[in-house]
Amino acid sequence: MLFKDLDLEIRPGDLIELTGPNGSGKTTLLRCLAGLTGDFDGEVRRGGRFSYVGHRGGLNLQLTPLQNLRWSAAIEGSDASDGSLSSLLEKVGLAGYELTPCQQLSAGQQRRAALARLCFGNAPLWLLDEPLTALDDAGCGLVRELLERHRAAGGAALCATHQPLGLERTMQHALGRAA
């Protein structure tokens, strides 16, 4: 068993860092919350839409960041125009790479392209699995900025992470033996 007696409530404006050693169930908990696995006893109640960025980024490497983002927007029910998607990519530091296939981008740039998905702005809850992986200092800064802005807009986020996010007013939730 990975965890028991787990009780977690996420309210608007909450930013929760999910910590714990490898194998303590951080990813599993996120997948349970997202509804990707039903292999648990208990109840998950969701108040609204959410965005999930797993450790597999959800990018097709043969497509360009713009094509990936266009697809994500369409399946998430957003009718964002190409222009606004391009400006999203610019915001995450991928200006000039809109038309480069993702396989030619570095791991960090791919991560940025995956995170751009969060910016459609219609999901009040973000579930992020190791959002800082492969990112440079500027990239980590970008994640912090995105989270800060999301929180200011009344959003909430749950981040499974090994590196501290380095943001103020975050809550910690430790899993596993370290708890």
Partner: protein, 233 residues
Amino acid sequence: MTAAALDRAPSIGRAFTAQLQRDLTIAFRSRSELINPLMFYVMGISMFPLGVGPGAERLSEIAPGVLWVLALLSTLLSLDALFRRDFDDGTLEQLVLNVDPLFVGVLAKVLAHWLVIGLPLTLLSPLAALMLFLPGAAVPTLVLTLLLGTPILSLLGAVGAALTVGLKRGGLLLTLIILPLYVPVLILGAGAVTAVIDGVDPSAQLAWLAVILALMLTLTPFAAALALRVGLE
């Protein structure tokens, strides 16, 4: 349909189009995956005159079966990639999480698969028929049976591909699951072509193929969507 579902109808349509467009773009980016099943089809068929002998009489006798079996195997060859690539890169998770109802996304993926594999196979079949001395009168029926049959192969295959998506080496298992299910399609398809050669009206077989297609079109997207949710766990 409920009022809420009607409200979402435009976004469901957009999700379908976006998924179709995306899968077609990817298919044309990786041309080898696109061409390999077709090459396999033509090369597989060209083995028969070499193995059985080039006699027109003997070849035309086995032609309907051979053409259909090869179409079936070529489709099988391409099925493993239907969901696996998306599973590996995490886009399948996004599809499952965001497209509601999920069968819409599955249907778009299957349509893309058919457009990329089944349709070209059908269009290529008159050429392949030529290699096996299939009588000219039977060629339109061959094309028609493949036109009706290859979508069934893609739809049924999607269920198998969805069931095995979480397995590391699901390819062979997929074949074992799906091949028996292809048997009725093979019998009806090859049977219709043989009927024309024998001077019998093939409309019964064609009607049955159409019935199966209608059934599969309405049932398998749901089954595949369900299997995907299970496969992701």
